[in-house]
């Protein structure tokens, strides 16, 4: 954290004076104070992306007041934030309608939309089975937290899709399952049968290591070998599951 980011600043939310750190995500600051701001593409562990457009707020800085997403708005001294204004509510409604049309099978989207009073969409549904909303959280976690970058977007515009390269087996994937864990709409899929872990969306199948002590499958061998490579610890260190180590 740089010096300027650790500096404390004062800002206002709907007239209430609050404090936070300069440069931190406005969304995170708001949530810390207990404000309910909806969002699907944000996670504290990774950099903000601003894809889902749900965490809209109005921010006044100096004379200018504008609608913006709060996740990628860096907190600054003296800004005034307005939640749930007419602008915010009406635009969020349309965004939710668009998400319902894009990912009608996503339970989380339907739930959230209902919470905000949106129960159907005036727009045409592309694929009734689709759950992915292109939030990119899986790829950000893979790159920034796991340090692998096994997956990414292909294409652009309306044709943008989250895939493993060539939509074939993601050969760099270590099968850690972090993407599955963070996915807000549960559209990646992971299963374990017969000592094999499968990450469905990335067409990745990896054999699991058996703990030399308790005998249970605990992590993909490929992942453990990578860990050994990255940490410099002997491979033998990873023969036992974390509980038996």
């Amino acid at each position: 954290m740089t010096e300027s980011q650790s500096r404390e600043v004062t800002f206002k939310v709907d007239g209430r004076s609050l404090r936070g750190r300069q440069g931190e995500s406005l969304l995170e600051a708001l949530r810390r104070y207990g404000y309910q701001v909806p969002s699907l593409c944000h996670h504290e562990a990774v950099s903000p992306y601003g894809a889902c457009r749900l965490c809209l707020v109005e921010v006044q800085k100096g004379k200018r007041r504008k609608l913006t997403t709060s996740c990628n708005y860096p907190l600054m001294e003296g800004i005034e934030v307005f939640l749930d204004t007419e602008q915010v509510v009406s635009n969020r409604r349309v965004v939710l309608q668009l998400l319902l049309a894009q990912a009608p099978a996503a339970e989380r989207v339907r739930q959230l939309a209902a919470e905000y009073g949106v129960n159907d969409t005036p727009f045409e549904v592309e694929d009734p089975e689709n759950r992915c909303i292109n939030c990119g959280l899986c790829a950000r976690v893979c790159k920034e937290v796991v340090g692998v970058e096994a997956i990414g977007f292909s294409g652009r515009g309306a044709g943008k899709r989250m895939v493993a390269p060539y939509d074939e087996t993601a050969e760099d994937c270590i099968g850690c399952g972090a993407c599955v864990f963070v996915c807000p709409t549960d559209c990646i899929g992971m299963s374990e049968t017969g000592g094999i872990r499968t990450i469905e969306r990335w067409h990745r199948k990896l054999p699991l290591k058996t703990c030399s002590v308790c005998g249970r499958h605990f992590a993909p061998t490929f992942q453990l070998n990578k860990f050994a490579e990255w940490t410099g610890l002997p491979r033998g260190h990873f023969d036992k599951c974390p509980d038996c180590r």
């Binding site: 992306y49 889902c52 708005y73 349309v94 292109n134 977007f153 515009g157 309306a158």
Partner: protein
Amino acid sequence: MAKAFANSADLKAYRQQLLKTRRTETKTISICAGTGCCASGALKLVDGFHRAVRERGLEREVTVRQTGCHGFCERGPLVVLHPELTLYQRVKGADIAEIIERTIQGGEVVERLLYQDAAGHRFVREDELPFYKNQMRLILAQNGHIDPTSIDDYLAVGGYQALAKVLGKSKPEKVCETIRKSGLRGRGGGGFPAGVKWESCRAAPCPDGVRYIICNADEGDPGAFMDRSIMEGNPHSVIEGMIIGAWAIGFPGRPQGYVYIRNEYPLAVERLGIALEQARRLGLLGKNILGSGLDFDIKINKGGGAFVCGESTALMASIEGFVGEPRAKHIHTVESGLWDKPTNLNNVETWANVPLIIDKGVKWYTGIGTGDVSRDPWGGSKGTKIFALVGKVQNTGLVEVPMGTSLRRIIYDIGGGIPGGKKFKAVQTGGPSGGCLPADKLDLPVDFDALTAAGSMMGSGGMIVMDESTCMVDVARYFTHFLADESCGKCVSCREGLRQLGRILDRICAGEGRPGDLELLESLGRTIRSASLCALGQTATNPLDSTLRYFREEYREHVEDKKCRAGVCRALISFRILADKCTGCMICAKKCPEQAISGEKKKPHVIDQSKCIRCGICRDVCKFDAVVVE
């Protein structure tokens, strides 16, 4: 070529020597070799003229020069004979001998190669043509006179004099101030005052002194090609502007330059590359330029074909080797841009204005254009603007006029009006982010603020004229699909919003519009505009909004009456053969891909509407105008 210049005195001395040795008495044949004329066969003409001059032993008296774009692309290939400025248009290889013998040697004019206006009046001199006479060519002044691959040509007409004037002589802060006071605003679309940007970038904290100076040459607006033309015709003017910028913004630090250029412009890439190499050899780029202490060089980065990369943060991401996704600009790029360094980005035409302002001064420059910028750089639009005048207009080409010139003057006096006796319907300015203005806006003075107020924008200066055979719903649909495809796809509002907008417009054009569709378009448009992150999304609905505002009746007809008055939307039209005009030549029946046309030889033919796919081939092949759209 000379040795590298150690200082500005060297540069001046070299120029003096150039002027002395240049044969001023010779005749010059200038052949336009811009993309348009090249496509019409200009390069063959260049070779042909060279050969013809050689064969006749005229090398000493006649110079053959291939130049950049002259701008009057409609009539290409263009050949201009100096010093008389005789303009020959649509010149072919077979005309070469006659031009040399009759005009160059005989002093006569070849009448049939002259430009002739609609009234039948012929013009001899280039500067007498209404197309050129009504323009004010400052940025394009040297296009057509100099060989873009010769730095000597540029130096001879006074090139790099502005650089010599400031480098090591004017304080960088002073140069920034000059640009601010000139009122120069960004020609790439936003119209942000360039001097303010320069000053902010200069003032931004930068411990290691690395500031980036970028030229945005990713001219992505379809229908705009002025930047291409400047780079092809006068690349050194852009380079000179950038070096001046490097001095003003980055000295005494370590400024570094980039030109991000479209891959679709191979000729511009080539000419710019040549120009950079020449500038390096003369010490105008590199270490200690003209003895001023400034170290600066420029790299070329070729774009990969993405409209969104015209957006500054997307462009920078692309230079860094990532996909062109824009990021939020709550922290401006002048503070943290390329590789998180202070970065100043201007487009090609903006950079090309810089040497001119330095050379001629603020007072002269602010005398051109609208408003008052003496207190506020936003107070007006100064200088000239180049427009690409295209579409349904007589004289297609590049037009440079003072800011504030009316649309009518551009389209009618310079452009010669609408061809084929058709009626003007609209003019689209600003590319996909701009809007369509109707006939009652023709007297609008064209500047940044007037266009924005009318619901369009300057953009980079595309100006597409539309007549009664252009369907405004189809135009909105075209731009919407264009942007849906060119969106980076990050924001839901832009990606899904434009996709849905396109679908609604598709169904309206297919005759399946529903009641309430226009209101749905409007509400969706509002969200695309206000909830998206970058300028692409925020301006994406301008074509839709402006057509809905000015041509709502056409939308209503599509939805309610299932009619397309322009005869464009296939589902709403039909082709018919006029029995009294059809000669029964059978061409249409032969060319019809669906065998939908029948009839006997020399008897009127008939189209079977159930088979017709409305491809329009029958109308294209008919020599008797017997096929009509209804």
